[in-house]
């Protein structure tokens, strides 16, 4: 570990963990017997942190994200989200999810799609602060397109709407499952930069699954590298770049060293 990484690890110890995963195992029962998707996975995400997850296909990255959000039952071990179980955290509406596909409702305008989370799931009596949908669309750079229907927007714009929707109920944890995987590189770079800006402005804890090594290095304060079949933690890499990060940083030697390290871990993980 480098000196910078050690210093970063020290700094984290003083911050309370938002998500703590211990000895987590998840199994799926299929026709061909039981498959272990995740095997004794453990790590912590500091509050307000940005953690990226990298790993070969089928290593259980998405499953891990879903287990944290209480979408997949936990087989063994424990997950704690701000000291609560995933189910309690879900009922308290701590989470927001962003998928590779924007999953917008095609009959609703951009602004009405952003409002959707405010219209459902509030019978639990949780009084929550919420952001102004108009302000959020402006935050993701879509002011003026409030009344556009999803099919009138480009793929990148749709994904922006879906990010605005994810932020509207002020979630404490934003879970992103390859959100920019289907976009072209130029759009992807732009959204990466904007996501960092949004993260700094909102202070939300973010977990971000990706297949792209540069994306994982550029976005994450830490990067969780998983190995496949069964999914295990290969290494939890600290990435100590100077904040705020800019796209040009990706051409520095420091950045290339980090991506080279991540790549070598992925090679071994296969």
């Amino acid at each position: 570990m480098t000196a910078a990484a050690a210093a970063a690890a020290e700094a984290e110890a003083s911050v309370a963990a938002a998500i703590s995963v211990r000895e987590l195992s998840v199994r799926f029962d299929g026709d061909a017997g039981s498959i272990t998707a995740l095997d004794r996975v453990g790590f912590e995400v500091p509050e307000g942190g940005f953690v990226t997850m990298l790993g070969p296909s089928g290593c259980g990255k998405s499953t891990l994200l879903r287990a944290i959000a209480d979408l997949v039952p936990v087989g063994g071990g424990a997950i704690s989200v701000f000291g609560r179980t995933p189910e309690q955290a879900r009922r308290a509406r701590d989470f927001a999810f962003v998928f590779q596909d924007a999953t917008l409702l095609p009959w609703r305008s951009a602004i009405d799609n952003v409002r959707l989370p405010l219209e459902v799931g509030r019978k639990s009596g949780v009084v929550e602060q919420h952001a102004e949908p108009e302000a959020l669309l402006a935050l993701v750079g879509l002011d003026g397109r409030e009344n556009a229907l999803p099919h009138e927007l480009s793929g990148g714009m749709r994904q922006r709407v879906s990010i605005a929707r994810a932020l509207v109920h002020r979630p404490r944890v934003l879970l992103m499952d390859e959100p920019f995987g289907a976009l072209d590189e130029i759009t992807r770079d732009k959204l990466n930069e904007e996501l960092l800006r949004i993260w700094r402005e909102t202070g939300t804890t973010i977990m971000f699954v990706t297949h792209s090594v540069p994306e994982a290095a550029f976005l994450g304060q830490k990067c969780l590298v998983l190995s496949a079949q069964p999914g295990r933690v290969r290494e939890y890499v600290s990435i100590g770049f100077a904040e705020p990060r800019a796209l040009a940083m990706r051409d520095t030697l420091e950045f290339v060293q980090v991506t080279a390290h991540l790549r070598s871990l992925l090679e071994e993980a296969r």
Partner: protein, 286 residues
């Protein structure tokens, strides 16, 4: 409106057309040319006029007697000379078809909602729905006549029955056609089943529902007419029977055309309604 078209009921399980994007664009490009636009309806109109002229020629050229095959002119004359008989019998059929359409589709939609929320109900009642659908409508009609008498009721029920099955099948599919991600999103937000139904499932089922309603809009007329065949002294169905037995071929043809016109009117209304409501569907082909 012949007996042959009754057999088409079972095949009436259309699905929402979602592969229309490319075709829609091609169509748009062609529609932009003003010449094409102006004469868009010319080919079918010319073809229909040509066939009517040919029919007229054959009937008068070979001296076919009017009670075997009337000429178009003879049929047209019925609308002016016996218009009152046609109208008196038109209204009951219209009423029965509309009431049957409303009844059959409402029950199908409510059942579909129940099936989607209750796996057990679906497994228990879906086979029964399939079984009822396999009984020829012409065989159920006398049974209903015995049960419900000779009034409007049995005709409405027959029209409802004929609408019911395609709508049930399509509506169940439509309500289930919500992406798994959307359901996960709703679960992350702790949305209730009721909220998912009202905010998401019902709207996303609309393209499927309209595909079924378009089928129902024409079959409900068939249902009403079949009901009137079996036992009635009013309505287009009864007029068909009466005209046939009395060798009043021109009246028979006029009645059939009126029945077909009714079905077309229902179909067009449904299509216009669909176009208004499904504006959000990109590249929708109507």
């Amino acid at each position: 409106m012949t007996a042959a078209s009754l057999g088409g009921k079972g095949a009436g399980t259309a699905t929402a057309d979602d592969g229309g994007g490319a075709r829609g664009i091609a169509r748009e490009a062609r529609a932009r040319s003003p010449a094409v636009r102006r004469f868009r309806h010319a080919p079918p109109v010319i073809a229909a006029a040509g066939m009517l002229a040919l029919w007229q020629l054959i009937v008068s050229g070979f001296g076919v007697p009017g009670y075997i095959a009337p000429s178009p002119v003879q049929v047209l004359r019925v609308f002016f000379e016996q218009g009152e008989v046609l109208w008196i019998n038109f209204w009951p059929t219209l009423l029965e078809a509309m009431a049957g359409f409303a009844l059959g589709n409402s029950i199908a939609v409510v059942l579909a909602v129940w099936f989607v929320h209750n796996r057990l109900a679906e497994r228990a009642f879906y086979p029964i729905a399939v079984f009822i659908n396999t009984i020829p409508i012409i065989a159920i009609a006398p049974i209903l006549m015995l049960m419900l008498g000779n009034g409007y009721a049995p005709k409405i029920v027959i029209a409802a029955l004929i609408c019911f099955f395609p709508t049930l099948v399509n509506m169940v599919r439509g309500l289930k056609a919500v992406s798994p991600q959307m359901l996960e999103l709703m679960r992350v937000l702790s949305a209730s089943d009721r909220e998912i139904l009202w905010k998401i499932r019902l709207q996303s089922s609309l393209p499927f529902l309209f595909a079924a309603l378009k089928i129902a809009s024409t079959t409900c007329v068939i249902g009403a007419i079949v009901g009137e065949w079996i036992g009635s002294n009013y309505g287009l169905g009864s007029l068909i029977i009466e005209a046939t037995y009395n060798f009043r071929a021109p009246l028979l043809y006029a009645t059939v055309i009126l029945g077909a016109g009714l079905a077309v009117a229902f179909f067009v209304t449904t299509t216009l309604l669909e176009r208004r409501i499904l504006k959000w569907k990109p590249g929708a082909v109507f």
